[in-house]
């Protein structure tokens, strides 16, 4: 299963789900599902989110058992 720290990083930049969704061109529901780990985004969308949150994709997403990457 794919884990992520989108919620934590979004909070750091004080973005709401809607705001982040608008910045990367998706719906609010998509951000919500990504944060819950219920949806694995495409590489393009992962890159866009990482860019908005100023991190690399592998800092934002990691596979189960590989640990939390955020410093």
């Amino acid at each position: 299963m794919l884990h992520n720290c989108v919620k934590e990083l979004r909070a750091r930049y004080s973005f709401s789900q809607t705001e982040l969704a608008n910045r990367v061109g998706v719906t609010r529901q998509t951000i919500g599902f990504i944060e819950k780990g219920d949806f694995s985004p495409s590489i393009t969308l992962s890159l866009k989110i990482a860019q908005e949150l100023n991190v690399s994709v592998d800092e934002l997403f990691w596979l189960e058992g590989e640990g939390y990457n955020e410093e």
């Binding site: 719906t27 949806f39 694995s40």
Partner: protein
């Protein structure tokens, strides 16, 4: 996108239209059958007078269906205009022949949800259509029933679509488990759909048989009464008993 978005609610509009079409088609089917095969049966004469043999259920269904269709399209176009006004750049066409409005493809998540839901509908059709074919094959009944069964399937399809999208919009869908469980052969929804379709398919001919039997009993009673009174009993073309003195 919100839960009350017109596109999310669209399967419900489809269901409403299908229900109206069911009522309307009863009248249409009866009228066409009459015009093609039994036009003389529309009229009957008693002495010098000619009467029209109105079949009230079909006449009523034709009128009610027609009025309901007009009302439906007026409300639909008002709602559509409202939606298009509130969503400039994302307008919906009035008719959905090319792309049904309920197919949500706003982004990759919605595309995935739509694919997942249409996969479930594919399974529903794959399992329910053979049952419908089987029922049509063995039931020697009015062709309205066949139309009603197909409309029933379409209603089930739209209900399933709405159910799935609603579940997703309420955050109850788990997309991490998107594959269909092959061990689970029939979903509850498909089972209920097949059960309802079978019930109606059997109920309609049963009702017809009961009606024929009741009519026969009534006619026998009229015959007996006539003969007991010393009159002559004649069976007319429209299945009524004429009692006349010798």
């Amino acid at each position: 996108m919100k839960n009350d978005d017109f596109r999310v609610q669209f399967p419900l509009w489809n269901i409403a239209l299908l229900l109206i079409l069911t009522i309307w088609s009863y009248g249409v089917v009866y009228a066409i059958d009459l015009a093609v095969s039994d036009f003389e049966g529309v009229f009957y004469t008693t002495g010098q007078q000619v009467y029209v043999n109105w079949h009230m259920p079909s006449v009523l269904s034709l009128i009610i269906g027609q009025l309901a269709l007009i009302a439906f399209f007026i409300i639909y176009f008002i709602k559509l205009r409202q939606y298009n006004k509130n969503n400039p750049g994302n307008e919906l066409r009035p008719f959905t022949f090319l792309k049904p409005h309920e197919l949500l493809e706003d982004d990759e998540l919605f595309r995935q949800i739509t694919e997942r839901t249409t996969k479930k509908i594919y399974i529903l059709y794959a399992q329910a259509i053979p049952v419908v074919i089987f029922l049509i094959m063995f039931l020697p009944t009015h062709r309205f029933l066949y139309i009603a069964l197909l409309i029933g399937l379409l209603i089930a399809h739209n209900a399933l679509y709405f159910w799935e999208i609603r579940k997703f919009m309420n955050g109850k869908t788990q997309l991490s488990h998107t594959s269909i469980n092959a061990k689970k052969r029939l979903s509850k929804f498909t089972l209920v759909t097949i059960a309802i379709i079978t019930f109606f398919a059997l109920a309609f001919p049963t009702y017809q048989v009961v009606q024929i039997q009741t009519n026969q009993e009534r006619m026998f009673e009229q015959f007996e009464r006539c003969l007991e009174d010393g009159h002559e009993a004649i069976l007319t073309e429209d299945s009524t008993v004429n009692c006349s003195k010798d």
